[in-house]
């Protein structure tokens, strides 16, 4: 070592100090993790640390004295040269002091991203450069991943459906990561294949070459890159598809000059929904970071698809609910089908529990031999109902459970999974909605929610069905009640169209008509009834309540007699009045009634008959006596006289017999005629006068003119004969019988008064009761006044009695003036 060099290495000397500083600097530079490179003013490398060596692959010997441009891509070199010159001229660098991002060129020719902090300094009038370089490959990657994630999120957020998002997703990934082509495959569960959903490529690849990639037959599980990913559920990387053994699309790839490829599953939880695959025209070595990032995006896309599917399902449910018809069963069936379809099961059933039986009223794709009703014992559906839980019952690995023994379909249909949701009606679990699978299925949250929603919808339908059934039952019962009412019921609207007719009404009046509803009342009932009904509909309910309208009327139709009453019907929410008719068949009753009237008449004739006998026997005696005298008589004048007497007696007999015969006549053979009351009373007195008890009764009449009465003559006769007989009997042959007629207000009145013993107060209430009599046995039937009452009320009249014990009794019958017979009603309405 020379002196100078010795000096240099001596501690404390300047040389030594410099040397020491340089050593420290060198140590720092050498141990720095960043590449530190120094260059002179010409851009030649003067210093190269070990980090630089690691980073660029060049040793110090490789680069010292060489230009900096050797470590930068060719595209930077011209700009670098210009920059160096500018710095030489200006004395300072624009780049100094702030880190810039550039790409470096490694010895092996690959580029990598770097961050450069540039420094300059002057020495000996020359400019020197220092660069601290950091490899930012990883940072760049993270940034790239981040950008990719954001881009994917933006795509997903802006798209309504996956089909809309699919190609945008591929583009976003390709744009950022530099891959050139991407495809998305979705699982078609029914066909158990993957089908291409979308393809996107950079314009650098001619599209014409790619059709074969996309239109390749769908991949079954395990086949090709997508099939492998689907089968494994894991991402996969193929550096060069042309050298891959399981790549059926090799020809298409070769045509498009594709090499590198990778793919990731699109998944939600454990469920693989599809595959995304990307291609590059370069051979690409596996990049686990990229794979991981893309696997993460696969999950994100999977969730997006699930979400969209949930939304879609809700839309489906909504559509299904909106399309509901009136038939609850049909609606339940549709809900069951919807549930099965949306959850992708093998089949779906909704069963309703009734006792020990389950009724499968909703079915979707059930086996053909699946019974409509089956015993609940040993069935999962029964368990679901019994458990009565709000949440989904999931049973997996069915063949291994005891249900394999109790439910034949588990094994017969190779069922693996059962999902059952209890259906609630009015707070009680009454049915079970289930979906079964031939695969092992773990339902996701969306599936659970979906089944819950559909089960609720079925519950609502069940409630509606129950309410409808209750309503129907109530209607049926009302209908049954109305049908079994022993009267015909007709309801008509204000146009007299029949809107309701019970069974009896149809039976009586629906002659040869297919449908009674809608028929005109005028065709169904006699005109006078229809017209009265028409008048009735024009009345307010208040006037309808007055006595006139509440009176029953009678009519005859086809050999039958009917009594009817009109009543107003108030229908809620309808201002149009309706009219009801309740109609009783009184043919038999009327026949019996007529028979009763007749029987009473004949019975009362019994009391009159002795009078009649007298009236006949007397002249008969005269005839016989006269005849016997004539036999012995020779004097012509005497014979003549006696013969004249015989003629008189015979005429008398004829009169008497005729009077009685007329009275005894059956009244139902007569029609109504116009009747003069005073005449009828006078005739009645004549008849009663013949009876032995008539005695010396004085007869006083006060007949004022009154309108004619429309009635059956024989019935009116019966009224007066009965009243006058009673009066005469009450007087025991002595007293005054007063007969009057008068028009009083609106009533035509006729009275029969006696001066007999009167009626005791306590008896007055009973005198019109049938079989009530105060006469001795055999003297009266007890039907006389009852029949009088019947006949009078039948002609819309009233009967009054005033009596004072010891003074006498007055019976007054009053008929409404212009008593509107049915005929008169029709006149009335005809003018209305």
């Amino acid at each position: 070592m020379d002196a100078m060099s010795t000096l240099k290495h001596m501690p404390g000397s300047l040389e030594y100090a410099l040397g020491e500083s340089e050593e420290r600097f060198r140590a720092v530079v050498e141990t720095a993790s960043d590449a530190i490179i120094l260059a002179d003013h010409l851009g030649a490398i003067t210093s190269w640390n070990s980090a630089a060596q690691v980073l660029f692959g060049y040793t110090e010997d490789d680069v010292l004295g060489k230009p900096l441009t050797m470590i930068m891509p060719a595209r930077y070199r011209a700009a670098h040269q210009k920059g160096m010159e500018r710095v030489q001229a200006s004395g300072h660098s624009r780049l100094a002091g702030k880190p810039i991002e550039l790409h470096g060129l490694k010895k092996d020719g690959t580029e990598f991203p770097l961050e450069l902090s540039l420094g300059t300094w002057q020495s000996g009038g020359s400019m020197f450069f220092s660069g601290i370089i950091r490899d930012i490959t990883e940072r760049k990657r993270v940034e790239e991943f981040h950008r990719t994630q954001v881009a994917v999120s933006l795509v997903l957020a802006s798209c309504d459906s996956f089909s809309q998002a699919a190609s945008q997703l591929i583009q976003a990934v390709c744009d950022i990561t530099g891959w050139e082509l991407g495809l998305i495959w979705l699982v078609d569960r029914d066909a158990a294949v993957l089908r291409c959903e979308a393809l996107w490529h950079q314009p650098t690849i001619p599209g014409s070459e790619l059709t074969a990639l996309k239109e390749h037959p769908p991949f079954p599980s395990g086949i090709g890159l997508p099939g492998r990913i689907w089968a494994s559920g894991e991402p996969a990387w193929v550096p060069d598809v042309l050298k891959d053994l399981n790549f059926p699309r090799a020809q298409a790839a070769a045509n498009a000059r594709l090499h590198g490829a990778f793919g990731v599953p699109i998944r939600s939880g454990r469920r693989i929904m599809g595959v995304m695959e990307f291609f590059s025209r370069e051979i690409r070595q596996p990049d686990t970071t990229l794979l991981q990032m893309m696997a993460d995006i696969g999950i994100k896309v999977g969730q997006f698809i699930e979400r969209k599917k949930d939304t879609e399902r809700l839309r489906n449910i909504n559509e299904c609910l909106l399309s509901f018809g009136k038939d609850a069963h049909e609606n339940i069936n549709r809900l069951t089908a919807l549930c099965g379809e949306l959850l992708g099961g093998a089949w779906a059933v909704y069963s309703y529990a009734e006792g020990d039986l389950l009724h499968a009223i909703g079915r979707w794709r059930t086996p053909p031999d699946f019974p409509p009703v089956y015993e609940s014992n040993g069935h999962l559906c029964a368990e679901v109902i019994k458990d009565g839980r709000g949440d989904l019952m999931v049973v997996r690995h069915l063949p291994a459970t005891s249900y394999a023994q109790t439910d034949p379909y588990v094994l017969a249909c190779r069922l693996q999974t059962y999902l059952g949701q209890a259906v609630r009606r009015n707070g009680r679990y009454i049915g079970s909605l289930c979906v079964v699978y031939q695969q092992d299925i773990l339902p996701r949250e969306g599936d659970r929610r979906l089944m819950g929603i559909i089960a609720s919808a079925i519950g609502v339908e069940e409630e509606r069905k129950q309410a409808e059934q209750a309503l129907q039952q109530a209607y049926d019962e009302t209908e049954k009640i109305l049908a079994s009412v022993p009267g015909a019921i007709l309801v008509a609207n204000e146009d007299l169209r029949v809107v309701y007719a019970n069974a009896l009404a149809c039976q009586h009046f629906n002659e040869g008509r297919a449908e009674m509803i809608g028929a005109s009342l005028t065709d169904v009932l006699p005109t006078e009834v229809a017209q009265r009904s028409w008048v009735f509909t024009r009345r307010t309910p208040q006037t309808a309540e007055n006595g006139y309208w509440q009176q029953d009327r009678e009519f005859e139709s086809r050999t039958k007699a009917y009594r009817y009453r009109l009543f107003p019907i108030a229908i809620r929410g309808s201002e149009r009045p309706q009219i009801g008719l309740v109609i009783w068949d009184i043919t038999e009753q009327k026949r019996l009634g007529d028979q009763l009237i007749q029987a009473e008449k004949l019975a009362s004739l019994g009391t009159l008959v002795s009078g009649m006998a007298h009236e006949v026997n007397n002249p008969a005696h005269g005839i016989m006596g006269m005849a016997q005298i004539i036999l012995d008589e020779t004097d012509q004048a005497t014979i003549r006289e006696y013969a004249q007497d015989i003629v008189g007696h015979t005429k008398h007999i004829a009169t008497v017999v005729r009077d009685f015969a007329v009275y005894a006549r059956r009244s139902d053979r007569d029609g109504e005629s116009e009747i003069t009351l005073s005449e009828r009373m006078a005739d009645a007195v004549k008849l009663v006068r013949r009876s032995p008890y008539f005695g010396d009764v004085d007869v006083v009449t006060d007949f004022q003119p009154v309108p004619l009465l429309q009635a059956r003559r024989t019935e009116i006769d019966q009224v007066f004969v009965n009243l006058i007989s009673n009066a005469v009997q009450a007087m025991n042959g002595k007293g005054r019988l007063t007969l009057t007629t008068a028009l009083q207000g609106d009533a035509v009145r006729a009275s029969v008064s006696d001066t007999g013993g009167g009626i005791a107060k306590e008896a007055i209430g009973k005198i019109f009761d049938p079989f009530y009599t105060t006469k001795e046995p055999g003297k009266g039937t007890g039907l006389g006044l009852y029949i009088v009452h019947r006949i009078v009320t039948k002609h819309c009249g009233q009967i009054q009695v005033e009596s004072e014990v010891g003074k006498g009794t007055t019976f007054t019958v009053a008929f409404p003036n212009g008593h509107i017979s049915p005929k008169e009603v029709s006149h009335d309405t005809a003018h209305a």
Binding site: S610, N618, A620, H621
Partner: protein, 145 residues
């Protein structure tokens, strides 16, 4: 005097009072009974009959009474009751148009000897009245005994 006496040939069968409001009936009775040998007195109603029997200046004695029921003024029932009370010995025969058993029974109970329902032949009437007059005779005999 409205009381008509019909003397027969000699009235040997006795005297009968005929009470009936109908003239032609009375006419037949009078003629039949007179022809048969009765002396007949007729009255048109109960009032007249009673008056005849009770006449102060010339009270009428009869052997039997033939009486109708249905008559104005005093009717048959009342008249019969009166006769039974005042002249219990005089047999009463009812001739009526009413064929009623009740009435017949009640009148028989009241002492009427016979109840005839019209029409009745001349011969039957004569027989019954003859029997009635005989009854009166028996009664008379008894009184005299």
């Amino acid at each position: 005097m409205t009381l008509h006496m019909h003397d027969s040939t000699n009235g040997r069968l006795g005297r009968v009072l005929v009470v009936d409001d109908e003239e032609s009936i009375r006419k037949i009775a009078v003629r039949s009974l007179t022809k048969a040998g009765f002396e007949v007195v007729e009255a048109e109603n109960g009032e007249r009959a009673i008056a005849a029997l009770n006449s102060d200046d010339n009270p009428l004695m009869v052997d039997a009474i033939l009486c109708d029921i249905h008559m104005p003024k005093i009717n048959g029932h009342e008249a019969i009751a009166y006769f039974r009370e005042q002249y219990p010995g005089v047999p009463i025969v009812v001739l009526t148009g009413y064929p009623e058993v009740d009435r017949a029974v009640s009148l028989m109970r009241a002492g009427v000897m016979d109840y005839l329902v019209k029409p009745i032949s001349k011969d039957d009437l004569v027989k019954v009245m003859a029997k009635a007059v005989d009854g009166h005779e028996i009664f008379k005999d008894q009184t005299f005994v």
